[in-house]
Point group: C2
């Protein structure tokens, strides 16, 4: 079975390699730099009216530093985000996540051999604003976005290319915990979502 066609079968272990195994280069900027939150939400509303529920997928990518797990985050305009993005209409979640991970982090030629381990959480946006919940609140019949989080395991070694308008940071799990103010609800709760896994650092 092609590991890209489905989720990995071993869902309780995540293999993590040292950050020093990876080289990081730059590539052309992605076009969403400098767009305000208001503009983003307006676009989201336009898309919703045309296509319905926005489905987005994001990858939690781990590396080891000082023998401790760190999450790869992209920073731009003062915001932290996980690599990922919106699925195309009809696109599969794993297929779309691989496309988005390569788009955000993959090398300029070829692609990284990601292994999508498991879905670890789902967040819902009830309205065209910045508030997300890990459930559909009662009385919300038409949520505007579903955002699914997956653990994406890296190969032992590879090269990243990061769009020039983003900074790639490796943030330790303990730094994210309970920091909703700084990282937002989705990223700050990653430690809880990962706590069921055995994280193997070889």
């Amino acid at each position: 079975m092609d590991p890209h066609d489905a989720l990995s079968l071993n869902k309780s272990v995540v293999q993590v390699y040292p950050l020093s195994n990876y080289s990081v280069g730059a590539k052309a900027a992605l076009k969403d730099k400098g767009i305000s939150i208001t503009e983003r939400l307006e676009r989201m509303q336009e898309k919703y009216e045309a296509e319905g529920l926005r489905r987005s997928v994001e990858g939690i990518v781990l590396v080891a530093q000082h023998n401790y797990p760190h999450v790869l985050l992209l920073q731009a305009d003062g915001y932290w985000r996980l690599p990922g993005g919106r699925l195309r209409p009809g696109e599969g979640e794993v297929e779309g996540l691989l496309r988005k991970l390569n788009n955000k982090l993959g090398p300029t030629s070829g692609s990284t051999d990601w292994e999508i381990v498991d879905c670890v959480g789902t967040w819902w946006r009830p309205n065209f604003d910045t508030i997300l919940y890990p459930y559909v609140p009662p009385h919300v019949t038409r949520p505007k976005e579903q955002k699914k989080l997956f653990v994406a395991q890296l190969p032992e070694k590879c090269s990243f290319a990061v769009p020039k308008n983003f900074k790639l940071m490796a943030v330790p799990l303990f730094e994210l915990y309970d920091k909703t103010q700084r990282y937002g609800p989705v990223i700050s709760h990653i430690p809880q979502l990962l706590s069921r896994f055995k994280i193997n650092m070889s």
Copy 2:
């Protein structure tokens, strides 16, 4: 395969039935009523010195009310807790969880046919105090307790018996979210831990 010997194989769906399917009776009080936190932590330290790492397991048990998922919680002395408890030395996690669930909620004769769906999180206690983290913090080499959370699925109908010194409450997911002050870090983060499941309410 006996469903009690291992985790259920279908790990992405949780079947939930209406609270009205279950009858709730009372049984003899459990003996830990009225013990102060200080006394608990002292006991924990004594046990640790004799047996090493305390392993505990807790069950997230869901019921539907108004077609919305609720978590069963036990309340005593102003504290909320999940049904569960400490494993015996050498005891298996699923085996011990079933024992504890029946001890806390099972009928006075016979036992409930719980189906343990999956582990959803692990919390660690680095010191003999009330602080838990969803990871082992760096530089902590000998954590004092590992607490594992499992989703425990109920049969379609059954009877509970609740120890007289506890109150059984069904609390909706949205009420738990972001209420660390009221429910503590473990219970208040249940919505995130469950967000990857499809919750089927028939």
